[in-house]
């Protein structure tokens, strides 16, 4: 494709979208002149495209995925819960669940913790803004790009050779044997998680930074005058004050981590016991010509894990609207 055909396609797509709204509203204006009040037809015009897309891309698939999980690999014959039974017995599934749990425990916790510490440090130091920019930068990079960056850091050469991976170069200079980090079962998961922590800490940091401005200055001053140490202020004033924000950040990162896929696919594709649910699902969408039944089971397990957060969000939203 040439640049011109790209511009052509892109403009057509966007123009069609604008035309719909403009023409339908003009038509509506034209025909509704007889009525003094705007009917709910106008609301329909405003809502229809978004609602149809929501229906096709979110609501229908959710129902359909649940249905497919009870059907065979082609989605034709009802097979009861045999896909679920298969999953429970499948060693890869077990590995995936364990790894996902590990990711869920470690990544949100450490990202939130680092984010909080960095936001706190940076607010008190004159070059803090630059520091925050640097810590935040990985948020802009794709997971695959981050994968390449870290694969380069973890690169392994034989013991006699010159190491070109930064981590092994450090290890060797300290007098240890170089390691092929991403192939050491179980531990390799930690090295993959480090990538995610590297990315998500920036997110936690900026949100904490915004929230920290809300901590009353008088309270901090008073504590300092009373001789509280900075550490004490951090643990006894700032953390309790931010506990809502901590919860929010923790849930956001949890959702991202539940769906973790790109990093695994790019770095190991689930080898060396790094399998996770989302990657297994992608795998089963195409493995053996594609098995929609088994693939759906993985999707549903991820979905079920998200449901509590979903309910919490709706509840919180209702509370906010009341105020």
């Amino acid at each position: 494709m040439t640049i011109f055909s790209i511009i052509f396609y892109v403009s057509i797509g966007i123009l069609l979208c604008i035309l719909y709204f403009h023409l339908s509203n003009l038509l509506f204006d034209f025909f509704s002149k007889k009525y003094s009040n705007e009917s709910s037809l106008r609301a329909f015009i405003f809502i229809a495209p978004a609602f149809i897309i929501l229906l096709i891309y979110i609501l229908y698939p959710v129902v359909e995925t649940v249905r497919l999980s009870f059907f065979d690999k082609y989605g034709r014959d009802f097979v009861g819960i045999s896909n679920y039974i298969w999953a429970i017995k499948d060693p890869e599934f077990k590995r995936g669940i364990l790894n996902n749990l590990g990711w869920l425990l470690i990544v949100p916790t450490l990202s939130t913790f680092f984010g909080l510490v960095i936001a706190n440090l940076a607010d008190r130091i004159w070059w803090g803004t630059i520091a925050k920019s640097i810590i935040f930068m990985p948020m802009a990079i794709s997971f695959v790009g981050a994968g390449v960056i870290w694969k380069f850091v973890y690169d392994y050469r034989g013991p006699g050779d010159q190491q070109i991976g930064f981590l092994n170069a450090i290890i060797v200079s300290l007098g240890f044997e170089p390691q092929a980090w991403i192939t050491i079962p179980i531990w390799n998961n930690l090295f993959l998680m480090a990538i995610m922590i590297w990315i998500q800490t920036g997110l936690a940091m900026v949100i904490f930074s915004a929230a920290l401005r809300g901590v009353p200055k008088e309270m901090l001053e008073a504590a300092r005058i009373d001789g509280a140490s900075e550490l004490k202020i951090f643990t006894s004033i700032i953390i309790p004050y931010l506990n809502q924000t901590i919860l929010v950040i923790w849930t956001i990162i949890t959702i991202v981590v539940l769906k973790i896929f790109d990093i695994i696919l790019a770095m190991t594709n689930g080898q060396w016991q790094t399998e996770v649910l989302a990657n297994l699902m992608f795998d089963w969408m195409f493995r053996g010509g594609g098995d929609s039944g088994r693939g759906s089971v993985f999707a549903i397990v991820i979905m079920v894990a998200v449901v509590p957060i979903m309910i919490l969000n709706i509840y919180r939203h209702k509370q906010e609207e009341k105020i």
Binding site: M1, G13, S40, A43, Y57, V144, I164, F166, T201
Partner: protein, 379 residues
């Protein structure tokens, strides 16, 4: 006072450690993408400013280049193909002993011929008998290679490896996938905040619920849905419009939610006044809401654009993995598989894929952060 100074010093030190740990991986990638590929393969990027020792194998030219002078047959050439800044320190003629001779020393080969190699790569090979070798003879050299930075990797990656095309493909995916949801959702968000219709609160709850529905839930049904449509009209089930709509669908909930929160916060007296003057909802939307929402649009545009640009999964599932459609993240993943040891390709490819996000990041960081914070505090 002394205690304050100490704690401030500790804080600065700790922050510095974080910054260094965070920047080193990206910095290493950046430096490596400009290094000569032969040097990159044998030395760490942190050595890129110092001279590196390299061991290389070269071949002499074959018998066709020999000249005859006073009954002595001579082959005279330079080892290096291009002008090289490498300096040879020693050489060898067997793989067992690659540093057998220093430069300017003369090696006597089995057949009695004599070979001398000079520092700049020139060599002279003399023999009493005519040379009969059809293939060049191997010479092993140890040379010091000065730091070398180049744009060659970029040329190679952009034009030969197809990353340039993938970059354009990603733009083709990302621009409409950002603008279309923005248009559709702004109307939707307006209706959700200021219009009265049946089921509005339910719809809003549905949007909030959809915020966290994992993408994975949609993939299998949508893939078969696309295949059915493709079969029905006898067209390919994978196309750019298909991806645009998929991204619109997956970004719909968050875009609507953020916009709705923003539009809801605008002063409603303005709208009441316009209504009294006989303005329709469409007028109000175009003339009042749209201009006021520009900053919110900027934030949401950036969030969605970066999301789409960095996406891998949707691009893998809804586009063919062919040169005219493959997106840059998918291309990068393909290179990780096929060119896993060619770090000059991987580092450069990764850096090309990062240019747009980094540009947006450094130019529009404020809007990016604003969007993230708005999205998080509420959602």
């Amino acid at each position: 006072m002394k205690k304050n100074l100490l704690s401030s010093f500790l804080a600065q030190f700790l922050l510095l450690v974080f910054v260094i740990v965070w920047i080193i991986p990206t910095f290493g990638l950046f430096v490596s993408s400009f290094r000569d590929k032969d040097l990159l393969a044998i030395s760490g990027w942190w050595t890129s400013l110092i001279t590196t020792q390299v061991n290389e194998i070269h071949r002499t030219v074959n018998m066709e280049s020999q000249i005859q002078e006073n009954n002595i047959y001579i082959i005279k050439e330079n080892i290096f193909v291009k002008n090289s800044k490498k300096k040879i320190s020693s050489f060898g003629i067997t793989s067992k002993n690659i540093n057998q001779f220093l430069v300017k020393e003369t090696a006597t080969l089995k057949d009695g011929s004599k070979l001398t190699v000079y520092e700049n790569g020139d060599y002279i090979w003399k023999s009493q008998k005519p040379f009969k070798n059809k293939k060049g003879r191997r010479i092993f050299i140890t040379a010091s290679s000065p730091p070398k930075f180049t744009f060659d990797n970029y040329k190679e990656v952009l034009f030969k490896e197809g990353v340039g095309q993938a970059f354009l493909n990603t733009l083709t995916v990302a621009i409409p996938s950002t603008i279309i949801p923005l248009i559709i959702c702004s109307f939707f968000a307006y209706a959700l905040s200021w219009m009265k219709f049946f089921g509005r609160d339910t719809l809003l709850a549905l949007i909030i619920a959809s915020l966290v529905v994992p993408l994975q839930m949609s993939l299998i049904p949508l893939l078969s849905f696309y295949n059915d449509i493709g079969a029905l009209f006898n067209i390919s089930s994978k196309s750019y419009p298909g991806v645009w709509l998929a991204h619109t669908g997956f970004g719909l909930a968050s875009t609507t939610f953020l916009l709705r929160n923003f539009i809801k916060s605008l002063p409603h007296e303005m709208m009441e006044a316009a209504k009294v003057d006989g303005a329709t909802h469409y007028d109000i939307f175009l003339k009042i809401i749209l201009p006021l929402s520009i900053p919110a649009f900027a934030s949401i545009f950036i969030l969605q654009f970066l999301w789409v640009w960095n996406d891998l999964l949707v691009g893998l599932v809804f586009l063919d993995q062919v040169p005219s459609e493959i997106i840059i993240t998918a291309k990068l993943r393909e290179l990780l598989g096929s060119r896993g040891e060619n770090w000059e390709i991987l580092t450069t490819g990764a850096f090309v894929s990062m240019t747009v996000p980094l540009l947006i990041f450094f130019l529009l960081q404020r809007y990016f952060i604003r969007g993230l914070v708005a999205g998080s505090v509420k959602g």
